[in-house]
Amino acid sequence: MDWRRFSFIGLIIVILFGVVVLIGGEQVSPLIIISSMLATTITVATPLTLGALSGIFCERAGVVNIGIEGMMLAAAFFGWLASIYMNTIFEFNAAISLTVGVVMAIVSGGIFALLHAWLSIAFKVDQIIGGTVINILAVGITGFLNRQLFFEKGSIFGGNVPHAPGLLPSLSKSLTFLCGGEQGCFGLPDLISGSVFDQKPVAISAIVLVAVSHYVLFNTRWGLRTRAVGEHPKAADTVGINVNRMRYINVVIGGMFAGLAGAYFTLESVPSFEPLMTNGRGFISLAAMIFGNWTPFGAWAAALVFGASQALQINLQFFRESIPPNWAFLQQSYVVGLAPYILTMLILTGIIGKTTPPAADGQPYEK
C-alpha cells in the first residue's frame, strides 16, 4: 500500500506522543506514558475505525453514506435500551443483557442502512440528502424515545433511568491467560500487556474487522464484485452481476459496522445514553475513510491519528502542572480539545497527495 500515507501517519503519532513524553517524562517513566497513551489511542479510535469500515463498504459499492453518524447514534440508543430491557424487565444477567444489547445495536444499524439503501437505490434519492435524512431521523427518534421512556411519569421505567447492566468486560485477563501466565504477554513487561492490550470486545473486534474487511474486499469474489459495482456498474451488469442487489447488501453490511460502533458508546465506553452522544464521530469516520483512500488499513491508520490526538488531550490534563511556561498555550484545554478537528481539516485538505473515490460513488445505476 501507499507507504507515504502510512509514514505520514506514523510521524504524526510520534509527534503527539513525543509532546506528552517531553512534558510528563520527569514525573512518570516514558514507557508508562507511551503504553497508556497507546491504550487510549486504540480505545478512542474504535468507533472511528468501525465507522470508516462502514463507509468503505457502502462507497466501494457506489453508495455515498453520510448517515453513519445517525446510524451510530440510533444503534447506541437501541443497543442500550435492549440491554436495560433484558436486565430490568426480563431479569437476565448482565452478560446476556449486554450481548443482546450488542446484537440489537448491530441490527438497528443495519435497519437504518436498509432505509438509506432503499431511498438511494429504489427511489434514486440524492444520496447526500438520504444520508441527512438518516441523521435527522436518528437524532429525533432517539431523543424522543429517551424522553418518553425514561423521563415521563407514566412511562415504563416510571420516570427514572434504571441501572444499566454495566459495561462489556475487558479482555486482558483472558489474553494474559492465553499467553500463559503472569509473566506478561509475548515477553513484554506486564505493564504493556496490562494497558495496551487491556481492551474490550468491541475495540478488539474493530481491529480484527479491519483485517477481515481487507481480505474480503481484495481477495474474495464478493470484494471483487463489490468494487466493480462501485467503479463501473454497467460493466458489472454485462458480466451478469446484479448491481442493485450488491449495493443493497453492502450498504446493510456497512450499517451493521456503524451499529457495532454505536454499541461502543453505550455498552463499552459508558453505561448510559445521552442525546447526540456520538458527537460528530460518524463524520470524522468519513474523513478517516477518505484519508485512508477507501482501504481498511489506511482508514484504521487515520482513525489512530484521531485517537492519538485524543490521548494527547487526556494526558495533557493529567500533566497540566508540569507544562513549561513557554508552552503555556497547551494549558488552555480548548487548544488541545481542538486538535482532533484541526487534524481532520489538515488531513482532508490533502496534505499528502490525492485520494481517489470509487468512480461511480454516489451515482444511481440506470441501464
Binding site: R221, R225, T238, G240
Partner: protein, 519 residues
C-alpha cells in the same frame, strides 16, 4: 455446399424506449462459423438488438433460440451461460482493475457465471492469469494479465474484451463497432483474429459502418433502418453503393467533392510546441506548422504518435512544456480553454464521452456547452430556455440527430448520434476561425459522414481554417488540402494532398526518411 446449422435465431424482437421504437419486429439469425455483418444508420437499433440478445435489455416481445432451444433472457448471465459473448460499443472494463481481474469478474471460479458457490471464495488470480495467457497464445490475442486496464491503449482493451468472452467459452461472439476506435493496423489484426475464431467454429456478429470492411470479411450482411430489418444479402451480390443506399434509403456519394482551396492569412501558428502525455513522456517534440484561413490541414500518422496530445494542447486542455500557439494573431500559449474558445476555436474531441458531452445533461444543454453564458442563451446569468429550445431543434434537424426530443439525456442516444450532437454544436457556433477536428466521423454512418464532410468543406470555403486529425487515411486524403505526417512526436514532412500517394504516406507514417524536400 450444405447450409450450416443456425446457432442463434431471433424472431420478432420488439423493444420500445420512451419515445423511440428501437426494434420493430426484428428477425435475425446466425449460422455456425459465419461472420454476419449488421449494418445500419446511427440509431437504427443495432446495439439495442444485440443488447437484447445478450440479455442486458429486456425485449417487449419476441423470442430467441440458441441451438434450437428457447431462451429466456433475464440477465446477461443467461446469455453467457448459453455461450453468447459481447464486446460492447463503449467498452465494459473496470479501468482500475487489472486485465486478470476484469476477465475473471463475474466468472471468478468457473468459466461461466454460476452463482452456486460461497461469495467469500478466495480469488485465484494466478490460475486465471495462467488461463488468460494460454488463451491469448492460442488465438494470437496478446494481453498482459497483470497490466491495469486504464493504462492500456484502446486496441489492447479490445483484445481484453475478446479474451473475456473467450474465457467464458463463448461460441457466439457479438462485436459492436469493434473497428471504430482502432487504427488501420489494429483493425487488420482484428480481422485476422476474427478469421482465426471462425475457423474454430465461433460464430460472429460484426457491427460496423465501414462498407469496405463488411465486403471483405462478412459471409452475410443484414441491413437495418429505423428499427426494422431492410434486407439480408451477401458480399457477392452487392457493392458499397448498394449497401449505402439500403442503409440510408437514398443514394450516397461516397467520394468527397470539393473545389480548389483559396487559402488566405495564417490563422493558427504553432511554433516548437512540446507536450507531455499522462505518463509524463514527451509525445509532441518540437512541432511547428501553420494552418491558413480557407484550407484544411490533415495530420496523418499512426495513432499514438502525439496526435492526441497535440490536439489537447491546441485546445487548451493540456499544459504545454514549451513553444507557442497563436490563434488569429493572439498569443494563446498557456491560456485556458475558455479563452481558446472565445478566440474562435471549435473542437471536436477524440473521446466523445469523456471530453465532448456531459452524458447526464439533455441534448439541448449539451448543444450550448460552449456558449451558455452568452446571449442569446444566457442573459444576466439566467439561461434562456426558449433560445436553447430553438437552437437545439434547429441543430437536430440540420444534422439529422436521431433523438425522441431535445430533452433526453445525451447518454441515451446511440453512439453515432452522440457524435452528431458534438459536431453540430461545434460547427454551428458563431465566429469560428479554426476547427480542430479529431476523428470527427468516428462511429458515424455513411450518410452522416457525407453530410459532415460537406459541412467541413463548406466551412473551409467560408474562410475557416481546419485542422483535421484522423486515423482514417482515406478521410485525411479526401478532405485535406495539405497533409502533415506525424511520426514519433514530430512532423516529418508536409505535402500537397493532391501530389501524394497513399503508399508514400504509409511509408512516412511508418518512419521511413523523407527523401525529397516537401511542398
Amino acid at each position: 455446399m450444405s447450409e450450416k446449422k443456425i446457432v442463434l435465431d431471433a424472431r420478432g424482437i420488439t423493444k420500445q424506449f420512451p419515445g423511440v421504437l428501437a426494434n420493430d419486429l426484428v428477425d435475425f439469425d446466425l449460422r455456425e462459423g459465419e461472420v454476419h455483418a449488421l449494418l445500419g444508420e446511427n440509431g437504427a437499433g443495432k446495439s439495442t438488438l444485440m443488447n437484447v440478445l445478450y440479455g442486458l435489455y429486456k425485449a417487449d416481445s419476441g423470442e430467441v433460440k440458441v441451438n434450437g432451444e428457447n431462451l429466456i433472457l433475464s440477465s446477461p448471465r443467461d446469455a453467457i451461460y448459453k455461450g453468447i459473448g459481447m464486446v460492447h460499443q463503449h467498452f465494459m472494463l473496470v479501468p482500475v482493475f487489472s486485465v486478470t481481474e476484469n476477465i475473471m469478474l463475474g466468472a471468478e471460479t468457473d468459466h461461466r457465471a454460476t452463482p452456486n458457490e460461497s461469495p467469500l471464495v478466495k480469488l485465484d488470480r494466478k490460475e486465471v492469469a495462467q488461463k488468460v495467457k494460454s488463451l491469448s497464445q492460442q488465438y494470437g490475442l496478446e494481453v498482459e494479465p497483470a497490466a491495469i486496464v486504464g493504462d492500456l491503449p484502446v486496441g489492447v482493451q479490445q483484445r481484453v474484451e475478446i479474451v473475456k468472452a473467450l474465457y467464458r467459452n463463448a461460441n457466439i461472439l457479438i462485436l459492436d463497432e469493434p473497428t471504430a476506435v482502432l487504427t488501420p493496423q489494429e483493425a487488420d489484426d482484428l480481422f485476422r483474429i476474427v478469421h482465426e475464431l471462425t475457423t474454430r467454429g465461433v460464430s460472429i456478429v460484426f457491427i460496423t459502418h465501414k462498407l469496405k470492411e463488411v465486403l471483405a470479411i462478412a459471409d452475410r450482411i443484414t441491413v437495418m433502418r429505423g428499427g426494422k430489418v431492410v434486407g439480408t444479402t451477401t458480399p457477392q451480390e452487392t457493392d458499397e453503393h448498394q449497401l449505402a443506399a439500403m442503409m440510408v434509403g437514398r443514394d450516397v456519394i461516397l467520394t468527397v467533392e470539393k473545389e480548389v482551396a483559396h487559402p488566405a492569412d495564417d490563422v493558427l501558428l504553432v511554433e516548437k510546441l512540446r507536450v507531455r502525455d499522462v505518463r509524463d513522456i514527451e509525445t509532441v517534440r518540437g512541432v511547428s506548422f501553420t494552418v491558413r484561413a480557407g484550407e484544411i490541414l490533415g495530420i496523418a500518422g499512426v495513432q499514438g504518435n502525439g496526435q492526441t496530445e497535440l490536439a489537447e494542447a491546441l485546445t487548451g486542455l493540456r499544459r504545454i512544456e514549451g513553444g507557442t500557439i497563436q490563434l488569429a494573431e493572439k498569443n494563446l500559449t498557456g491560456k485556458t480553454p475558455r479563452i481558446f474558445t472565445e478566440s474562435g476555436l471549435a473542437h471536436i474531441p477524440e473521446d466523445r464521452q469523456r471530453h465532448g458531452l456531459v452524458l447526464g445533461y439533455t441534448v439541448a444543454d449539451n448543444m450550448v456547452l460552449c456558449d451558455y453564458y452568452k446571449a442569446p442563451f444566457g442573459v444576466n446569468g439566467v439561461l434562456q430556455q426558449k433560445a436553447l429550445d430553438e437552437n437545439s431543434r434547429r441543430l437536430i434537424q440540420e444534422y439529422d440527430v436521431r433523438t425522441p426530443s431535445p430533452y433526453v439525456s445525451a447518454g441515451k442516444l446511440s453512439g453515432g448520434n452522440q457524435q452528431k450532437v458534438i459536431v453540430a454544436r461545434e460547427l454551428s457556433r458563431a465566429n469560428v476561425k479554426l476547427v480542430v477536428a479529431n476523428q470527427p466521423t468516428r462511429g458515424l454512418d455513411v450518410g452522416s459522414i457525407e453530410y459532415i464532410h460537406k459541412e467541413i468543406i463548406a466551412m473551409r470555403d467560408r474562410g475557416v481554417a481546419v485542422l483535421l486529425i484522423s486515423a482514417e487515411l482515406d478521410e485525411v486524403m479526401a478532405l485535406s488540402d495539405r497533409i502533415a505526417v506525424m511520426y514519433h512526436g514530430e512532423i516529418v514532412t508536409t505535402v500537397d494532398a493532391k501530389s501524394v500517394t497513399r503508399e508514400q504516406l504509409g511509408l512516412w507514417m511508418a518512419g521511413s526518411k523523407v527523401q525529397q524536400p516537401a511542398a
